[in-house]
């Protein structure tokens, strides 16, 4: 059944573009919405385990095994929610049917790629779906055909190509060592392999590839441009799921299920995570572009996830995965907020904004909720995930990193308060007196996301026991 999560988007694209294309124009949006909703509900009420294989029915010599576990389920859930949001935002932003149709097609391709990454069990299929996702993302970033967007897309392509090259090299080496590309075999071989140096080289360059894709410091060069120059709906997807799935999920999966931990690897993850947390937050503090600040904030938050992963403990992993989920929700929400503000006022420069909370109450309120959640203020969801990560760091005896992570929360709060003060609080500027609250699509998605971040915070004990702690079962192959 889960193979349909990959196949249906593919076939939808084909069906939508067959001779009836003109008739299908209007339905593309609803197909997206329907697929994302189906995905959300399917994930919430499904068992875990083997899903059979994807391509058996076509080619008996090429098997792509699919598998779903608790980590995959959480990722699928994020993908569904964020896609739903992005589709609504795009509908609000672009009234041109043709453009909307094109956008939705690419979005469906992206959906198939993302779902594929999450469900596959071998390193080569992972690579294939990563590429599908990456190519869809290039198109989406440059979708508005603006100069900045092209530059951003180009930066992303270049760094992504480097990542791809590294990853392919690594896969080749691993295939050579293990004779197979499935996670289980590689994991088993790496433990017993006589050629440790080569294996470690393969691991190292794969890690670098994942770092680039995940946009952690110092591999993040493409990220601020890509997030801020792309259309609003694309920023939501990029920040919400693409970077998270392509980079962070891959990192978690590969480190936790395939490579396993070593002291050196833990140290690398800790250093990269701390760098991202601190430098990302410091950089965010200096931004005056709404989306650019959110982009740097994303880097900082991904740093927390990496820190949680670095501990290698059950608690740390639960924290990392929960923060991954929370970040998808609140960062998407903040990008929707920024899109709403931009569509109402025509600017993203925070120095030209003030006092919007009165004119845009829903946007103002939800952005405060998202900011507080991101800064780790109880009882919102972000507080619990950060707490888990910091506690896990402390229990893992990484005291210095725990303290830095805790202190960096203050920086997070600082830049979000500065954002709130500059955009939503204070006296309304006279030239903004005429603005109105944003449209239905914005309000719907903002409300839903805000409710999720509150609900996940208040229902934390339930979520911890039924979703997060079972994540530990993904270990091994």
């Amino acid at each position: 059944m889960y193979s349909s999560l990959i196949l249906i988007p593919f076939f939808s694209v084909i069906v939508l573009n067959l001779p009836f294309r003109t008739l299908m124009k209007k339905s593309a949006f609803w197909v997206c919405i329907a697929l994302s909703l189906i995905q959300i509900f399917a994930v919430l009420f499904s068992p875990t385990g083997s899903l059979g294989n994807l391509t058996e029915m076509f080619f008996s010599f090429l098997r792509v095994d699919l598998w779903i576990d608790n980590l995959s389920r959480i990722m699928l859930l994020c993908i569904g929610i964020v896609l739903f949001t992005a589709a609504w935002v795009q509908k609000e932003l672009s009234k041109d049917e043709e453009r909307q149709f094109n956008f939705m097609n690419v979005l469906l391709l992206l959906l198939a790629g993302l779902n594929g990454i999450v469900l596959v069990r071998d390193i080569f299929s992972l690579y294939v779906f990563l590429e599908i996702t990456a190519v869809s993302s290039f198109i989406l970033i440059g979708f508005n055909k603006e100069r900045d967007a092209f530059e951003a897309a180009f930066k992303y392509i270049i760094l992504s190509v480097i990542a791809t090259a590294l990853m392919l090299t690594s896969i080749g080496l691993l295939l050579m060592i293990a004779g197979d590309t499935s996670f289980a075999t590689i994991s088993a071989t790496l433990k017993t392999s006589p050629d440790k140096l080569l294996a470690m080289f393969a691991v190292a360059i794969f890690l670098c590839a994942a770092f680039i894709k995940g946009g952690v410091m110092p591999f993040h060069g493409w990220l601020p441009d890509a997030y801020s120059a792309s259309p609003a709906s694309v920023s939501v997807i990029l920040a919400g799921v693409v970077t998270k799935t392509v980079g962070v999920y891959t990192l978690i999966r590969i480190v936790y299920s395939v490579f396993g931990y070593s002291p050196a690897l833990t140290l690398i993850l800790l250093i990269v995570g701390t760098l991202s947390v601190v430098l990302g937050a410091l950089a965010a503090l200096g931004q005056s572009d709404f989306k650019r600040m959110l982009a740097y904030s994303s880097i900082s938050q991904v740093g927390y996830i990496v820190l949680g992963l670095a501990t290698g403990s059950m608690l740390g992993l639960a924290g990392a995965v929960f923060h991954l989920f929370n970040h998808s929700i609140f960062k998407s929400l903040l990008f929707v907020n920024s899109a709403a503000v931009e569509s109402s006022t025509g600017t993203r420069n925070m120095d030209n904004l003030a006092g919007l909370a009165k004119k845009m109450p829903v946007t103002g309120t939800t952005s405060i909720l998202a900011s507080l959640s991101c800064a780790g203020i109880p009882p919102l969801a972000g507080f619990w995930s950060k707490l888990l990560i910091i506690v896990a760091l402390w229990m893992g005896k990484f005291y210095a990193f725990a303290i830095i992570a805790a202190l960096a929360s203050i920086l997070t709060l600082a830049y979000f308060l500065s954002l709130q003060r500059r955009v939503f609080f204070g006296k309304l500027r006279e030239d903004l007196a005429h603005i109105k609250e944003s449209g239905f699509g914005f309000l719907l998605s903002m409300t839903i996301l805000a409710l999720i971040t509150i609900g996940a915070g208040l229902g934390f004990p339930f979520i911890l026991n039924s979703f997060l702690l079972p994540v530990k079962t993904i270990s091994g192959g």
Binding site: F154, K155, I158, L159, I162, L166, K196, L197, M200, F201, V203, A204, I205, L207, C208, F211, I212, P218, F219, G221, W222, P224, D225, S262, P263, A264, L265, L267, I268, V272, L279, L282, A283, L285, G286, Q287, L411, A414
Partner: protein, 610 residues
Amino acid sequence: MGALLLPILIPLIAGILSLLITKRFRILSEVVVLWATFFNLVIAVLLFKNNLTVSLPMTHWGLTFSLRLYHFSGFIMLAVAGFAALIALYSVVFMKGKDHLNQFYGYFLITLALTNGAVLANNLIVMLFFWEGLLLVLFGMIAIGNKMAYKTATKAFIIVGVTDLCMMLGIALTGHLAGTLTMSKIHLPLIGLGNLAFILLMIGAISKAGAMPFHSWIPDAAVDAPLPFMALVPAAFEKLLGIYFLARISLDLFNLIPGSWVSIVLMTIGAITIILAVMMALIQKDYKRLLSYHAISQVGYMILGIGTALPVGIVGGLFHMINHALYKSGLFLTGGSVEKQTGTTNLEKLGGIGTKMPVTFACFLITACAISGVPPLNGFFSKELIYDGALERGWIFYAAAILGSFLTAASFLKLGHSAFLGKLHESNKNTQEAPIPMLIPMIIIASLCILFGVFNYLPLNNFIQPILGTARLHGHNFAGFPTNPFLVLMTAVVIVAAILNHFWGVKSKGSAIKAVDHIHYAPILSTIYEKAEKRFFDPYDIGMQVAQRIAEAAFWCDRKIDWFYEVLTVKITFAFTHSIKKAHDGSYSTYLAWSLVGGLLVVLFLMFSV
């Protein structure tokens, strides 16, 4: 057994009742206050000479609400009840037409209830409860005076509050040392921490009594607070209560012996209080303010007497306590009469009213003689006993006490002369004698001053000496005329000297009010006086200035801490932010270089870890 609760409950209920009575039913609140104080007096008389205890367990960890009536507490209660009844009668006339009547009567009665409670309490915590309650009504009573009274009320509240805190610590320490809080079971030696506990409790006691350096609110209250309050609280109740507690800790809770340094401390405080307060009294130009300084000075005699730790001194101190309560409240009441009838207590606007108010003048004369120690009035006998004790402990203390007597006599000569004698002041032409209800208390008090003097064996044998018991007295009986002819002679010399000094002063300066100017403007004294009048030596003001400096220092530190967080940290943060922003120059090559260098480092690090 329940009878012991009556002296607390009756005034308390009556007090709450009169707080509730509105201004329209003024008569009703007067009836309430008169009957309540009368009943209280009857109960006190009936209870006197009984020995009763009440013990109601209050908490499971051993705090019992225990009251104990025995000779000492019965005597104090009787005295308190007597003053309350007399001053209630006086107030009903005096307070007519004043604001906040219901509050005044309410606080009056609650003060009475709490004083009874504090005297009867046999548990230190229970006593502390009543003691602190008095602080509350003290604040209320001063605050309802004139418009600036709230400042004085705050001053009193802070001074007494701080000393009460000392007492609270003392009680905790005493309880810790003794293992019990029941007062009748505590008998501690004055060694080690016991000294500290004693000093802390003593601070509470002498501050309540109004000794230096805890006195400075009293002269202010004399001007700001309603006059009956002055006659009732600082002149009578607080002296009785403070000296009662001082005697309790010196005689029962601890065993004060003549050789101990604590005894020297007490005598020193007493001697300094006598001299400094009377020096200040000497130069006052206001009837009530002058009296209030004497209320402080006289405490010095009591503390000096008890501080000697000799039977003769202690008997003298306690006798002086009741005598002082009599003549000082009597003096305040004459001051109240003068204020009521002439509208002022400023000595410069008074003069020659002795003929217009003969009864008041007579009462003043008797009480003033009593406070100056003129035989055969009560003040003479108690002072002689104190002199006796002081001389035995050291001539310096005796010298201070006798100098105090000289100045006291001089200042009352000045007061009496300038207020009641001399030329009639123009504004007093139509002055009349005070109404009868105000005269009755004064007459009774003045007669008691004579009675306690001429027949001094009555109070001494019935009230004072049983407090010490025959064992402590070693068979002495201090009633009757003083046995030491030297002391009597000295007292006579001092009084004559004071009179001569007064007439010399009047003659040289030309008016009664300037009779002591040669002391006031003596070379060194004049500068000291000038500074004292400007409150340079007021411990409260000094304390407030110190507090101000501390607050400024704390504010300075706070600004620095604030600067650290708000300026320095922010600046450092933004310096980082700025450099990070600069590094993001948007060029492909930079970002590529970062990624490649980072990747290289990761690879190398992992490879070398194998």
